[in-house]
């Protein structure tokens, strides 16, 4: 029982990370048809925003020493701010461009952010101690897991409920859902397009910051490549979920987390090193049978 619950919690917490990442990508894709590959670098930026620039192996903590109730809003604001800035400075100019051009612009932006961090912090991973109180273990249903893992799951569930309520109940959410489905029509009807897009970027950036906090606390390191692996899985989750479908992205994120965790358990020890190959194999199978994704979003053509 304890062993099974352990797997369930591992799957949920890994899936949570992927789901949060996928949501951040799907939100922007929904309103702009932009696959934002800079998302992973925004995650890394949020971690490094807590440190003073230095090339030493041990990080010099700056905002990271703040109490959690200041630290978390600070990180979320950094993520949202950077993301909105990238919209205003870069992506706004590509609104009429085709999706491939926008995607390339996002790669370029990602490199700019990454090399900016490289310049200030060097490529050496740094050890950080972020929210250390979260590493103490707790015991639930016979499974022992770090408090952080539990909090990750709870935070993700809270974010999902909050985002659903936001999209369903607020004026802004209503405009965002309409714009995500048919941006041109929404604009013709007077929906405030720029605000909707900036809102999507702000939310996406805040989600990146949430991932940054979780990853930073979990791994105890700051690494300029730390967003990349989550970004890759999150991107795959948005594709499997049906590009632009928020619900699909979340479901696929959790599914990937579950597959990866289960593979880790059931694969023979020699094959475990190749876990990701098996995960990607499963992804290919899904896409063979449902090339449009699990829940395909409609209106994938019309843009500004």
């Amino acid at each position: 029982m304890g062993g099974l619950m352990q797997v369930v919690f591992d799957a949920l917490s890994l899936g949570s990370l992927y789901a949060l990442g996928a949501l951040g990508i799907a939100l922007i894709f929904g309103v702009m048809r932009l696959v934002n590959f800079a998302h992973g670098d925004v995650i890394a930026f949020c971690v490094f925003a807590l440190l003073w620039p230095s090339v030493d192996a041990v990080a010099i903590i700056f905002a990271g020493n703040l109490p959690w109730y200041l630290l978390i809003p600070f990180a979320l604001a950094v993520g949202a701010g950077l993301s909105v800035l990238s919209e205003v400075v870069v992506f706004r100019r590509f609104r009429r461009a085709n999706p491939a051009t926008m995607m390339i612009a996002s790669f370029a932006l990602g490199f700019v952010i990454r090399y900016f961090l490289l310049m200030l912090f060097s490529s050496r991973p740094k050890s950080i101690s972020l929210l250390p109180e979260l590493s103490q273990p707790v015991e639930i249903l016979g499974a022992r897991l770090p408090l952080l893992q539990l909090i990750t799951i709870l935070v993700t569930i809270t974010v999902l409920i909050g985002l659903t309520a936001f999209l369903r109940r607020t004026r802004f959410g209503l405009e965002m859902r309409a714009a995500a489905e048919n941006f041109t029509m929404a604009r013709m009807l007077g929906v405030r397009a720029n605000r909707v897009i900036m809102g999507a970027f702000a939310l996406s950036g805040a989600l990146a910051a949430a991932i940054a906090l979780i990853l930073g606390s979990q791994t105890g390191t700051a690494n300029i490549m730390m967003g990349a692996s989550v970004m890759l899985m999150a991107f795959i989750a948005t594709v499997i979920g049906g590009m632009g479908s928020l619900a699909g992205a979340v479901i696929a994120g959790f599914a990937l987390g579950a597959i990866a965790t289960v593979m880790q358990v059931i694969l023979p020890p020699d094959a475990r090193a190749f876990r990701d190959a098996f995960v990607y194999g499963a992804v290919i199978l899904v896409l063979i049978f449902r090339p449009q994704g699990l829940l395909s979003a409609r209106g994938t053509k019309e843009r500004v």
Partner: protein
């Protein structure tokens, strides 16, 4: 009393004239029909009237004020609403959300938009559909939702682009009744583009016939029915379905 007027409107696409010197006017409470064979320029004229397409020459005026240079949503805010061929609803949104977001786009508060959306669904006669996802509706209901959406904010003018396409005779009858109420009860001026000529002849006070971008006839239904030019225009494209439609319309009305 308002009036919407196109004065000598011409539109050229890369040298090709889609419209040349077309005049048209609609007054409050009036139902004006716009007919003509495929490719006559009907939708182009609606696009010009609603700010989707700039006129190469000529002007559109609302109560004497030129509307040139206004974006579609600005024209909409001045009280000129339209529907699109095929409805073009937000298919993933609930019916009520489709109307509500339109109200919000017009600058209403969310509460006001929701209240008007509910009242509007009731008025159009589709209140039970409020929570259905728009993309799952049958064709005719989708059209009604599109009309309800266009009526949000009580526009002065409503431009309907082929609202009866694909409808059965009975459904077209219901639609006629709705259009009469829009003009009669709301005092809204209606411009009706329609391939179902019978519907147009039965419903409109005044009809404009376009062919190849030019006005070939205007007048009350009786004059249009009697017109040789109109008959000729439709005969000229006899390969299409327009001819039997016209004939059917003439029989119904005669």
């Amino acid at each position: 009393m308002s009036d919407l007027r196109a004065d000598k409107v011409s539109v050229a696409f890369a040298g090709l004239k889609a419209l040349s010197d077309v005049d048209l006017s609609v007054a409050s409470g009036q139902i004006v029909g716009l007919i003509g064979p495929n490719g006559a320029g009907k939708t182009t004229l609606v696009n010009v009237l609603t700010g989707f397409q700039a006129a190469t020459e000529g002007a559109v005026r609302l109560d004497g004020q030129p509307l040139s240079g206004l974006k579609p949503h600005e024209v909409r805010r001045r009280g000129i609403a339209r529907t699109f061929q095929g409805g073009r609803l937000f298919r993933d949104l609930a019916v009520i959300d489709n109307l509500e977001v339109t109200g919000v786009g017009l600058g209403q508060s969310r509460a006001a938009a929701l209240a008007e959306a509910e009242a509007m669904l009731d008025w159009v006669g589709i209140a039970p559909l409020a929570d259905r996802i728009a993309g799952t509706l049958p064709y005719t209901d989708e059209r009604r939702v599109a009309i309800g959406r266009a009526l949000m904010g009580r526009p002065k003018f409503l431009l309907l682009d082929e609202p009866a396409a694909g409808m059965s005779a009975a459904e077209a009858q219901d639609l006629s009744a709705l259009i009469r109420r829009i003009a009669g009860e709301m005092g809204c001026g209606v411009l009706l583009i329609e391939h179902n000529v019978g519907l147009v002849l039965g419903l409109c006070d005044h009809i404009v016939v376009l062919d190849s971008g030019a006005t070939i006839e205007t007048g009350p239904p009786a004059a249009i029915r009697a017109s040789e030019k109109v008959r000729h225009a439709y005969m000229g494209t006899a390969a299409e379905t327009d001819l039997p439609v016209l004939e059917a319309g003439l029989e119904v009305e005669a």
